[in-house]
Amino acid sequence: MFIDDEPRGVFFLIDNKSFYASCEAIQRGYNPLKVPLVVLSEARNTNGGLILATSPEAKRLFHLTANVSRKRDLPRDPRLQVVPPRMNLYIQRNVQINNIFTRFAAEDDVWPYSIDESILDMTHSWRLFGNSPREVARLIQKTVRQELGLYTTVGIGDNPVQAKIALDVYAKHMHDLIDEIHYETISEKIWTINELTEVWGIGKRTAKHLRRLKIHNMYELAHTNPYLLKQKMGVIGTQLFATAWGVDRSRLSYKPITKSASIGNSQVLPRDYQKQIEIETVIKEIGEQVAARLRHHNKLTKCLSLDIGFSYAATDEDGRDGFHHALSIDPTNNDHEITRQLLFLFRKNWEGQAVRNIAVYSSRLIANTGQQLDLFSSLDRQAKNEKLSYVIDEIHKRFGFTKLVYATSLTKGGTAIERAKLVGGHNGGNSYE
């Protein structure tokens, strides 16, 4: 059999049931499975409010979907509890959970996959904790529930992709929230999946592409001609074919080498910005943020790019939905120099459209090994300017970002102060301490 040559281990993929909602339920003394609760972010740029998480009971009662949806989609029902997010709390819980996992597998075998999912390579350690992988999974579930109150779902597989599919498609529907896929059960577990988008790595677009190739379910995907698939979809086609056979040759410990790193930030504005001065304020703020991150990593950038997205109305008028331009510059990580170049890019390309998205990226990074002086300004000044940025960084680090900002951030358009409270775009939970 072909599987004799495939890598084979014992992998667990563990996720938390409605993670944010469960954390909030436990904080309030409720059982995460019983309380109908949603976590709603009302950050200013969410256009009313964004539902980040829905507890299982709320999903059942009100037929809410798991995907991020809007506040306007929420039913007006007195049974439903609405709570604000606290991202710092969830990060703390994630760390605690992964600490529990390291009791069951070596630290090097626990791989956080997202804020509420981790991959555990249990190949070498599961025998220490039970007679079967399922028994060990049960024990992990119990430990997490006992120590943190959270319910976890476990997918078990011979490799990570099998574990992931077991988790996504089966485990959440099982009574004990555990399910397994092995090479021997591929035909009954993977090929029977009729909805392509349920499978890891297949989204709406890929599913559409596959349908055009007359592939409508996993059985058909597994029995198509892989060479044809590669011809039509490139290397992703091969990968999908491998997924359909439950094959995954990835080595988790392999660290891919980043060919060209980049550092950048982007944001959606809370409303349409029309005035040049307001837009430029935000561009400056993001530029300074990117510069600060460059300095933190001790890098210089040789290429800056500015991405501007227009508002829906401006898109209709203009025909384009924005513009994107890049600029080669002398290596720098200086606030002033970076914002100057960004504003140059902006002024050259902007023709008065209303703006909703702004992104700034710096790429072609090189190590900061020393300052390149130029001949056209005084040496003293140049050296001092360089130092100034580092002093500002130091103050930010020691006293917090909002303690020292440019006065423009206080004008109407500025977003930096408001955003300093956010973690991953949502309330970090500062209201807590």
């Binding site: 436990i26 904080q27 309030r28 003394g29 409720y30 059982n31 019983k34 309380v35 929420l74 007006r76 029902d77 007195p78 439903l80 509890q81 609405v82 709570v83 604000p84 606290r86 120590e147 943190l148 109150g149 939970g429 209201s431 807590y432």
Partner: protein, 106 residues
């Protein structure tokens, strides 16, 4: 006034908007996992969704301290205080039950 009381009371004042047909109350949850008492400010307009905003976390996991804190809080505000996760526990001083009935969502 203790620091905990100050934080809880000042945040309550900001959130207590006294809108008509709206219930306001303070929820105190016993969190055995974190060994803390969590305070929340809840409000609900008639027929609408319940809104629950975190007020504070009291890390001093001691019922005696909580009893004193609640007593002082009651002097400053007449908002209802609901307890959750305290079933079978009694206040150390008065020996009264803290929470009469287990919440069905617990």
């Amino acid at each position: 006034m203790s620091k905990d009381l100050e934080v809880i009371y000042s945040r309550t004042e900001l959130l207590f908007k006294r809108i008509s047909r709206t219930q306001y109350w303070i929820q105190v949850a016993n969190d055995p996992y974190d060994r803390s008492y969590n305070f929340f400010f809840n409000s609900q307009r008639k027929g609408e969704r319940l809104k629950s905003v975190p007020l504070h976390r009291v890390d001093n996991y001691d019922l005696k301290y909580l009893e004193q804190l609640i007593a002082e809080l009651r002097k400053k505000t007449s908002l209802t205080i609901r307890f959750i996760g305290f079933t079978t526990l009694r206040w150390p001083k008065t020996q009264k039950l803290i929470q009469w009935k287990r919440d069905k969502l617990e």
